[in-house]
Symmetry: C2
Subunit: 80 residues, 2 copies
């Protein structure tokens, strides 16, 4: 099964990288940019036929390794 885990900073956590991109987009002339927040995406293939089991494993992966849950949120989507 294919899955996508998206890890984003919690609101309130400063994102200097996002700020830098925001500034760069403005100086490139992209109009209307209000804010940019950068996160990470993990495209994971997992050998597991049961959707619920795959999701549980990926949540464990996110908790243990992919996200720092003190400052980041994660979202697991199993695409089947």
């Amino acid at each position: 099964m294919k899955a996508r885990v998206i890890v984003t900073l919690k609101s309130g956590i400063l994102d200097p990288q996002g700020k830098a991109i925001e500034g760069a987009l403005r100086s490139l002339g992209i109009a209307g940019v209000v804010s940019v927040r950068q996160g990470k995406v993990f495209d994971i293939e997992i050998a597991e036929g049961d959707r619920a089991v795959a999701e549980a494993r990926l949540k464990e992966a996110a908790e243990k390794l992919l996200a720092n849950t003190v400052i980041e949120n994660y979202d697991v989507k199993v695409m089947g």
Copy 2:
């Protein structure tokens, strides 16, 4: 409007970071991991009422700055 731009490596482009994560997940005991590819996500807020215009601007942003289109694909989703 809120939008999400996801940038991923094209298939065939080596992803040593993804490989490292793959190995780490295995040694953490997450069963069944076949492959991991890492990408980037940008959550962008753009002051523009017209969905099509917002999408066009974000595509321009992806082409000019967010993605290296030689080795990366991007996907723009305007969430309204």
